[in-house]
């Protein structure tokens, strides 16, 4: 029992991202309303972004903002600042997520205008008629 608790505490960032990802995945697949599926997709993408950012953390690390001349002189200890590369990569991923959400919302508006509802089963009913 202690070993399990130890495992969970030591790698808690992995556990958090797995739980969030499964919540998002369940929403994408299990919910009937199209808007809820879209929000599930957002949660899914956010969990991966959180995971990436958490991989850059170092024990006792500080914010990765360094004075320009200090960095040029070479007086920066890489072990004392958090890795900034995942942050930059995730900026791009956030922009991608925003774009996909924007397109999806516009598509949802078209669906609403056409069928009058955003519930999947009602739409399927209308299609079969």
């Amino acid at each position: 029992m202690e070993m399990i608790v130890d495992e969970i505490v030591a790698k808690y960032n992995y556990w958090i991202y797995v739980v969030l990802m499964m919540i998002g995945f369940y929403a994408m697949i299990g919910k009937r309303n199209l808007m809820k599926k879209l929000i599930g997709m957002n949660i899914f993408q956010t969990s991966i972004i959180l995971f990436f950012v958490s991989t850059g953390v170092k024990k006792g690390g500080g914010i990765p903002i360094v004075d320009k001349y200090q960095a040029l002189a070479g007086n920066v200890d890489a072990a004392s600042i958090v890795n900034p590369l995942p942050h930059v990569l995730m900026l791009t991923a956030i922009v991608v997520g925003v774009s996909v959400t924007g397109v999806a919302l516009a598509v949802l508006q078209r669906i609403y205008r056409e069928y009058g509802t955003l519930e999947e089963d009602e739409i399927l009913e209308k299609l079969q008629r």
């Binding site: 995945f25 994408m28 199209l34 599926k37 879209l38 997709m41 899914f44 993408q45 991966i48 995971f51 990436f52 991989t55 995942p86 990569l89 791009t92 991923a93 991608v96 774009s99 996909v100 397109v103 999806a104 516009a106 598509v107 949802l108 078209r110 669906i111 056409e114 739409i123 299609l127």
Partner: protein, 496 residues
């Protein structure tokens, strides 16, 4: 301007023309056609020059911003990338001739939006084949996907619903790929593909490496509609506007297959991916299922475009199975099939576009007797059908030949049987349509008066790329030998 930057200019010119179309296309429509055709013609010339140079001098690589390779984003042009660049630019140019006319008919007044998305999609495809950096691949994959979501949603009827379904599934695929890249970054600390290939075999982390490989491959499989992750494809490609389907259907899934080849060959070296025999076996069985199920599902369709989309699912099965056969013939057949399948799908979708332009629908019922009205279109369709079935000397025969040889070499008889059965089913599918087209009684489109039997072909804008593609099918088939010797053989890793 020196020619080291030529491959980047091939990418940048369509992108700049997309911006120009967005600005100028609002004022007047006549700017759109010259800009689209001009930039794509430049890309065709540029990619042919690059291909010649790569065959002569070897790989070109440079980093954007002139930073040293592991730190900068590297662009690599090796023979496979150069081949894909030529393929993308030629297919895009031929499809644009037809799309310009279709969009005029189907989406009046919104052409500048359509072609902005179209040109950004093409620029994204060029970027995908050029990049040598794992995260850059994710960004460009999403660029191409987002523009495709937009293009598909512009159609009529159920298009918006199909596009939404594609958005959900496509995002799952891209996120899985991103997760795979995340694991790789934690393991190796670098995102450059050549660097990862250098470092990954020296690490001793089998579980983490296997997880990374699995996530990235499954993500790419969702994007290329590998059975059973294919459910978004038939709806999305058949409900899209005709102009979008003509360009997206031949290119998107094939470029994603190329990405899988690139990831397996250059990033995760083949030694790592094929260590466990049973995984490769399993994937080949899954590919055999994909081929059979795709072909059988195509038999039940009553609409020519939906039938073609299920055939695309089967073709993806050919290519994935060919790669996971893990021998030289299989890999050659797979890469050759990327080129051939793009051309065959382009030819068939151009036929569909021409028929829709004149008739408005491609349901099998409405295709009866169409030979009398559109003989050239039907002749090109027959050539495309022969290529799909695998009749020499069209290109389809040669790639299937190599795939069958690869299956026999590896002892994967299920794959060989699936290939042969699928060729037979394709023969049934296409000969059914050829019989309807040539020998059926003419359908009367408007229900008044006897049906007209005069020739009423699509305009020459749509007919000339069709004829050119049909001729290309034979030309590429006949030049398979030089293609394999000069280009594809250089890509096969040692030991296969």
């Amino acid at each position: 301007m020196n020619a080291t930057n030529l491959h980047l200019f091939v990418l940048v010119v369509p992108l700049l023309s997309a911006l120009a179309i967005n600005l100028l296309g609002r004022r007047s429509r006549q700017w759109i056609a010259p800009m689209v055709l001009g930039s794509l013609a430049f890309s065709v010339f540029g990619s042919i020059i690059i291909m010649a140079r790569v065959i002569e001098h070897g790989n070109l690589s440079y980093t954007v911003g002139n930073w040293r390779p592991p730190y900068g984003i590297e662009l690599v042009v090796d023979p496979l990338s150069a081949l894909m660049m030529v393929l993308i630019s030629v297919v895009a140019l031929l499809a644009s001739f037809s799309s310009l006319k279709s969009v005029e008919q189907e989406l009046p007044g919104r052409e500048h939006f359509f072609f902005t998305l179209y040109m950004i999609l093409i620029a994204g495809l060029f970027g995908l084949v050029l990049t040598g950096d794992a995260f850059n691949l994710y960004v460009l994959l999403e660029i191409t996907s987002i523009t495709t979501y937009g293009l598909i949603a512009m159609g009529r009827g159920r298009a918006a619903l199909s596009s939404f379904n594609y958005i959900i599934m496509g995002s799952i695929g891209a996120c899985f790929y991103l997760l795979g890249i995340g694991y790789i970054y934690i393991l190796t600390g670098t995102l450059n593909m050549a660097d990862i290939a250098r470092i990954l075999p020296t690490l001793n982390a089998p579980v983490a490496t296997a997880t990374a490989i699995a996530f990235a491959l499954v993500g790419l499989w969702v994007k290329m509609a590998f059975f059973p992750l294919h459910s978004w494809l038939p709806n999305a490609y058949s409900q899209a506007p005709t102009g979008a389907g003509t360009m997206v259907a031949p290119l998107m899934t094939k470029v994603t297959v190329y990405l899988m080849v690139r990831v397996i060959l250059s990033m995760y070296t083949p030694a790592l991916v094929f260590t466990h025999e049973w995984i490769a076996q399993g994937v080949v069985w899954a590919a055999a299922f994909a081929i059979i199920c795709g072909s059988v599902l195509a038999l039940g369709q009553k609409d020519l475009r939906r039938m073609l989309t299920y055939i695309i699912v089967a073709e993806v099965g050919y290519m994935v199975g060919g790669i996971f056969l893990a021998n030289a013939n299989g890999l050659t057949g797979s890469i050759l099939h990327i080129v051939n399948d793009a051309l065959m799908t382009l030819c068939l979708f151009l036929v569909v576009a021409a028929i829709i332009y004149r008739q408005g629908s491609v349901s099998l019922v409405s295709l009866q007797g169409i030979f009398r009205r559109m003989p050239i279109t039907m002749a090109a369709f027959t050539l495309g059908a022969f290529a799909m079935i695998g009749v020499p000397p069209t290109c389809g025969f040669f790639s299937k030949w190599y795939l069958i040889l690869g299956g026999i070499d590896g002892g994967h008889w299920e794959f060989v049987i699936a290939l042969v059965v699928s060729s037979l089913i394709n023969a049934v599918l296409f000969f059914r349509i050829i019989e309807l087209g040539y020998f059926g009684s003419l359908q009367d489109g408007d229900h008044h008066g006897p049906p007209s039997t005069e020739r009423h072909e699509a305009p020459w804008w749509m007919l000339s790329p069709l004829v050119l593609t049909a001729v290309l099918l034979i030309v590429v088939g006949l030049s398979t030998g030089p293609l394999i010797n000069n280009v594809i053989r250089l890509m096969i890793p040692v030991g296969f």
